[in-house]
């Protein structure tokens, strides 16, 4: 049986990936589920597994190639199968000799990430830094065919004329999505104009509506003074975050529910567990929250939904994403099937997930199949965090720090360990009352934490 290995799409906005490394050579036997390659996307390094067992017969892409999503990169087949139709074929690769390894290394977080065994898994969402909106043109624009695609440097710099940059800026076109036809692949005026043809030109953004990130990074756009700072191209990861977060804010009408959760009992339970367990099963506050969300999502499946235009899909597994801060951005890989996993498994897997995110070795499903997200800035002492939903998910729980607060219990003021959480949910598919019940479930589970371990 002949099985094609294709460049997977890790997320709706991924159009190409870099083949970092083959882990098999032609002629090696391959088991179904075995990791055969490592690829780099805008967000992470990901391992690709074989879908079928057989022999790794032919590699159609070389290490370092940038390959369009859906292109065949290898053929796995029986040793006698006829694969002659792949002779002379090569994945539509854009050769990019620039070291991808260094690009990957740059994305790896340094010690800024708190250890996962700390009170909460370090994670971040940055709602106040909503990036520049992605243009409608990008959605409508056909992907350039591979043979025509001009080379693009891997350092994230797009080669465009000053005029093309100005027009793209005025029209809100992402130059990363425009194919350059000028000398050396330079994006010139007509390329940007063609990219916007057929798409409604967005109205100019009023200055006050310019997102903060842009104001920070591109002050020169408004300043005529030669001493003004030069604009800085966003990294690929930043561009991806910018696109996805803008898409979310544009398409998903968010509503927000905030509640205080009394974590006193949960903290005590955690202490007890951690006194009697091995290092790798030590539980963080975030693990408790993941577990609570997993259970709550099972009981409130309306929040375990992905949205696609005017349709939505109730997902069978509760794949809970945890946002992990990196040097230049963040990534939120999923703990698969968190709804059915016990606390020790969640504790183990979340540590592993953080480690592998640092090392850039996430699995495909971890990056693509999340159904709900948690973002937690508790480790930074943040009290309240209101997140932005990760498309195509429906909800995100923002988690603040656990702090001692006065609380009234039976006419007495007592000190309790309180934690503020904020649910941001998509009003297209859920309503506030549903959200309140869902959030109440999470609160109930955490305030009676024995429910998390039975």
């Amino acid at each position: 049986m002949v099985s094609e290995v294709v460049m997977p799409q890790m997320g709706a906005d991924m159009t190409e990936g870099t083949l970092l490394r083959w882990l098999k050579e032609e002629g090696d036997s391959v088991e179904r589920g075995e990791v055969i390659a490592e690829i780099e996307t805008d967000k992470a390094n990901i391992e690709i597994e074989a879908f079928e067992s057989g022999v790794f017969r032919k590699a159609l892409a070389s290490e370092g190639d940038v390959v369009q999503v859906g292109e065949v990169i290898a053929v796995v087949a029986g040793s006698d199968d006829d694969i002659s139709k792949y002779d002379g074929a090569a994945a539509g690769a854009i050769k990019q000799p620039i070291a991808t390894a260094s690009a990957a290394a740059e994305r790896r977080p340094d010690g800024a990430l708190a250890a996962p065994s700390e009170a909460a898994t370090t994670s971040a969402e940055m709602p106040e830094r909503a990036p520049e909106p992605a243009p409608p043109a990008e959605v409508q624009q056909p992907q350039p065919s591979v043979s025509e695609a001009a080379p693009r440097p891997t350092n994230g710099r797009v080669k465009a004329s000053p005029l093309a940059k100005r027009i793209a800026d005025e029209r809100g076109v992402d130059l990363g999505s425009v194919r350059g036809t000028g000398p050396g692949g330079r994006i010139v005026k007509k390329d940007v104009e063609q990219a916007t043809t057929g798409a409604p030109a967005p109205a100019p953004q009023p200055a006050a509506a310019q997102p903060a990130a842009r104001a920070v990074e591109r002050p020169a756009a408004a300043a005529a003074s030669p001493a003004a700072a030069a604009p800085i191209e966003m990294s690929k990861m930043r561009q991806t975050i910018a696109r996805r977060m803008s898409q979310s804010k544009r398409e998903a009408p968010h509503y927000y529910l905030l509640v205080d959760i009394d974590m006193t009992d949960a903290m005590a339970l955690r202490k007890q567990i951690n006194e009697s367990t091995t290092e790798d099963e030590r539980v963080s506050v975030n693990d408790l929250i993941v577990r609570a969300c997993g259970i709550a999502l099972q009981r409130h499946p309306a929040f375990n939904v992905t949205v696609d235009g005017e349709q939505y899909v109730r997902q069978p597994l509760q794949n809970v994403c945890i946002a992990i801060a990196l040097d230049d951005g963040l990534i939120a890989p999923a703990i698969i099937d968190a709804g059915n996993k016990r606390l020790p498994a969640i504790a183990r897997e979340s540590k592993d997930l953080v480690e592998r995110t640092k090392g850039g070795a996430l699995k495909v499903e971890e990056v693509t199949q999340g159904t709900f997200s948690i973002t937690n800035l508790g480790a930074y002492g943040i009290e309240t965090l209101v997140g932005i939903i990760q498309p195509p998910q429906t909800a995100i729980l923002g988690v603040g720090t656990v702090m001692e607060q006065p609380a009234v219990r039976g006419a007495q003021v007592v000190v309790r360990q309180m934690m503020k959480v904020a649910l941001a949910a998509d009003h297209r598919v859920t309503d506030g009352a549903q959200g309140a019940r869902f959030l109440g479930e999470i609160k109930g589970l955490l305030e009676k934490p024995v429910s998390l371990i039975v």
């Binding site: 004329s161 000053p162 005029l163 093309a164 940059k165 100005r166 000028g182 000398p183 330079r186 010139v188 005026k189």
Partner: protein, 323 residues
């Protein structure tokens, strides 16, 4: 309108000045009995006498210095230095005296001198008579640098040069003296600092002056056959420079190539390129390019001389690489 040569157009301007302003007189090497090495002043000695048309020894610094003195004393001298290379012998008078006196005297002294010389190559005159040193003069504040491309420019700009109260370096092109064009018989003036839109286009601006305007025009004709509409700008004066005119054209076509006979390294084209990118960066769809002469002393051999000068096909290729 009469069609006359560039040489004749210059003669008309000089004759008008001699006839109409008693303060005007001409001096230079061989301008009298011989009629000027390019025959611009032929017959003037007989017509105006040796008080108005003076032959001088081969002593450029002295000639220019005497001219500056005469100008300071109220006359309007025109000094001819034959070839621009020879002007280097008078560079101290030009740069250290003529250009500065108005400023250093707080405006009490003007130096209304016109210094004519021939620049450019293409006439097989060898490395010591064939260079384009206009950028040396254009570098100096206080002097105006005029570079006519056509007979019409030559007459009108030379008329304006005599109106100027301070020194004007008037650089004619050796290969253009016999070129012809329509020139009004009456007196007229072409203002300094105002470029001529020599040919309209939309795809690329070819910026030229003096001889290079014609190379650019021929290249534009070739480009038109390939569907590229080049705009040709004739600068007319390098100082003052029509910055607004250059920017307006670049903002229209979004691309610019500067064509000049001068050496590329440190040449005037570099100044224009810098101005364009400083002031019209966001209007550029391609880098500003230069099509300049090669960085060698001008060869005597006709073929080598042409090879050292910018050629139409080079302009065409550059333009195609930008569009």
């Amino acid at each position: 309108m009469a069609v006359v040569t560039y040489r004749e157009a210059l003669r008309q301007a000089l004759r008008y000045q001699l006839q109409n302003d008693e303060r005007v007189f001409l001096m230079g090497e061989d301008i009298g009995a011989y009629g000027g090495s390019y025959a611009v002043t032929k017959g003037f000695l007989e017509e105006f006498g040796d008080k108005r048309v003076k032959d001088t020894p081969i002593a450029e610094s002295v000639v220019v210095g005497a001219g500056i003195g005469a100008a300071m004393a109220g006359l309007k001298p025109m000094v001819e230095l034959m070839t621009i290379n020879f002007s280097l012998l008078a560079i101290d008078q030009i740069v250290n005296n003529a250009s500065k006196l108005h400023y250093m005297s707080n405006g009490q002294v003007n130096v209304p001198i016109v210094i004519r010389m021939a620049g450019g190559a293409g006439s097989q005159l060898g490395a010591q008579h064939s260079h384009s040193l206009e950028s040396w003069f254009a570098h100096v504040p206080g002097i105006k640098v005029v570079v006519p491309a056509t007979p019409y420019d030559a007459k009108g700009l030379l008329m304006t040069a005599f109106d100027d109260e301070n020194p004007v370096i008037f650089i004619e092109h050796t290969a253009l003296y016999a070129s012809k064009g329509e020139v009004p018989e009456e007196a007229y003036r072409v203002p300094f600092g105002k470029a001529e839109l020599h040919r309209e286009g939309r795809d690329v601006t070819l910026i030229g002056y003096s001889g290079s305007v014609h190379q650019a025009s021929r290249a534009a004709e070739d480009l038109a056959k390939e569907g590229i509409e080049a705009e040709v700008l004739n600068l007319r004066t390098l100082r003052p420079l029509d910055v607004d005119g250059i920017l307006a054209s670049v903002r229209k076509t979004h691309r610019a190539i500067i064509v000049e006979d001068d050496w590329k390294f440190g040449g005037f084209a570099g100044e224009i390129a810098a101005i364009v990118q400083e002031q019209a960066f966001d209007d550029l769809d391609a880098p500003v390019m230069r099509c300049s002469g090669h960085d060698i002393p001008m060869p005597y051999s006709g073929k080598l001389e042409q090879a050292a000068l910018p050629q139409e096909h080079e302009i065409v290729e550059l333009a195609k690489s930008l569009v």
